[in-house]
């Protein structure tokens, strides 16, 4: 799980152009939206594409997004649970 979380942090930084951040600056349990990283709705779309492109996981039900994208850890857990 730790390796996946680390990988995911790198992918998020790259996909969202978070140029000033390093992996260690991102708290695995901090909220991605609002507080924490302060991401917005466009970033949410970018993260959905990231999941599909890099991990082959499609978020079928948009309502699940809130839970999946709560933090880097919840994203990693979702990937692990749904990886084929």
């Amino acid at each position: 799980m730790d390796a996946l979380i680390d990988q995911l942090k790198g992918e998020i930084i790259e996909q969202l152009n978070l140029e000033d951040l390093k992996k260690e600056d991102i708290n695995s349990d901090a909220p991605l939206f609002g507080e924490g990283l302060g991401l917005d709705s466009i970033d949410a779309l970018e993260l959905i594409v990231l999941l599909e492109k890099n991990h082959g996981i499609k978020v079928a039900n948009p309502a699940d997004g809130k839970k999946i994208f709560q933090s880097v850890r919840t994203m990693a857990e979702y990937i692990q649970a749904n990886k084929k």
């Binding site: 996909q15 969202l16 152009n17 978070l18 140029e19 000033d20 302060g38 466009i42 779309l45 970018e46 594409v49 599909e52 492109k53």
Partner: protein, 354 residues
């Protein structure tokens, strides 16, 4: 139709954005394509917003911010910009992703930022400006169309302060495409030697230049913009001279009243003949200057030329780096800009001291 240039902000391959200096030192790029010298954007943009923006958007927002500060204007009555290629870097990213990922996994950011009017829109969003907002995309007439719209809007009394701008960016892919169709020289040319190269092609360039064009003169005024004319594919030099004479006559002037001409010579042996003809004939009594060795060739380079002309008038100086031949001018009242893109889109602007 006239307007006062009351503020300027320009980011270009020269040091133009954070210094009052006027080309006393020239940045030698020694390259086939010139890229802009960029500021630190943290002063102009929230990093959270900047992370999504391509270089041309950041350059334009910074240049427009500098322009507003220079003009002491907080909110324009209209925003009119010209760009031939729009936000090319993001367009390339988006198209590349379509091809590479077989039309899957398209991300929203590069799509949103890839439209031609993104720059005007982002400037308006930053200012919360709900006024008239227009982007002209007419190849070598893009910036000139914005200027013309602004002059007409001022003449109609529909605005007092208008932000006008020209912006285009150079990318590696665009350079390669243009190089293949013969836009650029095959050899690297030192900046100050460009005008003397008698080979085909020019050097690539880019920039973002913004101006506050106002109805009234102010303490910050650089010059009065008195008119602009565009000529599409002129048949011969006589047609060009006639258009210049028309512009001058409509302002009560003749060619003898022009103290300085700012030419768009770009070192391309195929196209510089128009400038040479004017220098040797209609405008032979004026001091000749040029600018594209400093900013490179691009469709909205006329905006760099307008900066040069406005600075010449305001400072009453002609830097040696832009001079062709001798300086014949003692005082500088009237300046003409003559520019062409690929000998297709020709434009002439008239600026005067105010």
């Amino acid at each position: 139709m006239e307007g006062y240039i009351n503020g300027i902000g320009i980011i270009s391959p020269q040091k133009t954005f954070d210094t009052p200096d006027f080309l006393s030192e020239v940045v030698e790029h020694n390259s086939k394509a010139l890229y802009s010298i960029e500021p630190s954007y943290k002063e102009f943009l929230n990093p959270n917003l900047a992370r999504r923006m391509a270089r041309i958007i950041k350059m334009s927002i910074a240049a427009s911010t500098i322009c507003f500060r220079d003009a002491k204007v907080e909110m324009p009555d209209a925003i009119m910009t010209g760009t031939a290629l729009g936000c090319l870097e993001d367009t390339e990213k988006f198209l590349w992703a379509i091809i590479h990922d077989d039309e899957q996994f398209l991300t929203p950011t590069s799509f949103i930022q890839s439209t031609h009017n993104t720059v005007s829109a982002q400037i308006a969003l930053q200012l919360k400006c709900m006024n008239y907002n227009f982007t002209y995309v007419h190849k070598g007439f893009s910036f000139e169309s914005a200027v013309l719209d602004a002059l007409m809007t001022l003449a109609e009394g529909e605005a007092k302060n208008i932000l006008i701008g020209g912006h285009d960016e150079m990318t590696d892919k665009y350079y390669r495409v243009c190089d293949r169709i013969g836009y650029f020289k095959q050899e690297t040319v030192p900046t100050m030697e460009l005008i003397n190269r008698k080979t085909n092609g020019s050097i690539g360039g880019e920039g973002a230049a913004f101006f506050v064009l106002s109805k009234d003169k102010s303490e910050t005024s650089y010059a009065k913009l008195r008119g602009i004319k565009t000529i599409y594919k002129p048949e011969n030099n006589q047609e060009i001279e006639n258009k210049i004479n028309e512009l001058l006559a409509s302002n009560g002037l003749t060619a003898k009243d022009i103290d300085v001409v700012v030419y768009g010579n770009n070192g391309d042996a195929r196209f510089d003949k128009t400038y040479t003809h004017l220098q040797d004939n209609l405008l032979k009594d004026s001091t000749s200057t040029y600018f594209k060795h400093l900013c490179g060739e691009y469709q909205t380079a006329g905006s760099f030329g307008m900066w040069v002309a406005a600075k010449i008038i305001k400072t009453q100086t002609i830097p040696s780096a832009i001079l062709i031949g001798d300086n014949k001018s003692k005082s500088i009242k009237n300046v003409l800009i003559y520019n062409t893109f690929l000998d297709v889109d020709h434009s002439v602007y008239l600026l005067s001291q105010c």
